[in-house]
């Protein structure tokens, strides 16, 4: 698991179901929803690393 990914999963599990479809990050001008972020972080992709780092820096997770 990516380092500190647990912070994302914990926040994600508390989200209203409709909120999970909402954008939560922008990478290279592309919006990333909570659901997409979950996949990227869960699959430990490079994007996932960047998304997680940004979410932590912004104190969203």
């Amino acid at each position: 698991m990516l380092k500190n990914a647990y912070r994302f999963f914990k926040a994600y599990s508390n989200l209203p179901l409709e909120e999970r479809k909402n954008p939560i990050m922008v990478i290279d001008d592309d919006p990333i929803s909570w659901n997409l972020a979950y996949e990227e972080i869960n699959n430990e992709t490079k994007n996932g690393e960047e998304i997680l780092k940004n979410l932590i820096d912004l104190e969203i997770v």
Partner: protein, 68 residues
């Protein structure tokens, strides 16, 4: 990209995803603002725009605490 610019981009994307029937009145403007008007306020960094960003970020940060 600065953190401030990233936050603004995120909030703009969230506003873009708002349902078309939603309008919000905020502050002393006597009118309800639809999705496009809210986005314009954020894009132009007006007082209302900054407040929208603040409200959205406070909400997002509260989500992780389970407060909301």
């Amino acid at each position: 990209m600065t953190q401030e610019e990233m936050v603004r981009k995120i909030i703009l994307e969230r506003l873009k995803a708002m349902a078309p029937n939603v309008k919000i009145a905020l502050g002393s403007k006597g009118e309800f603002l639809d999705r496009d008007a809210l986005m314009k306020e954020v894009q132009n960094s007006t007082q209302v725009g900054k407040k929208i960003v603040e409200i959205q970020m406070r909400y997002l940060r509260a989500l992780k605490e389970g407060i909301v």
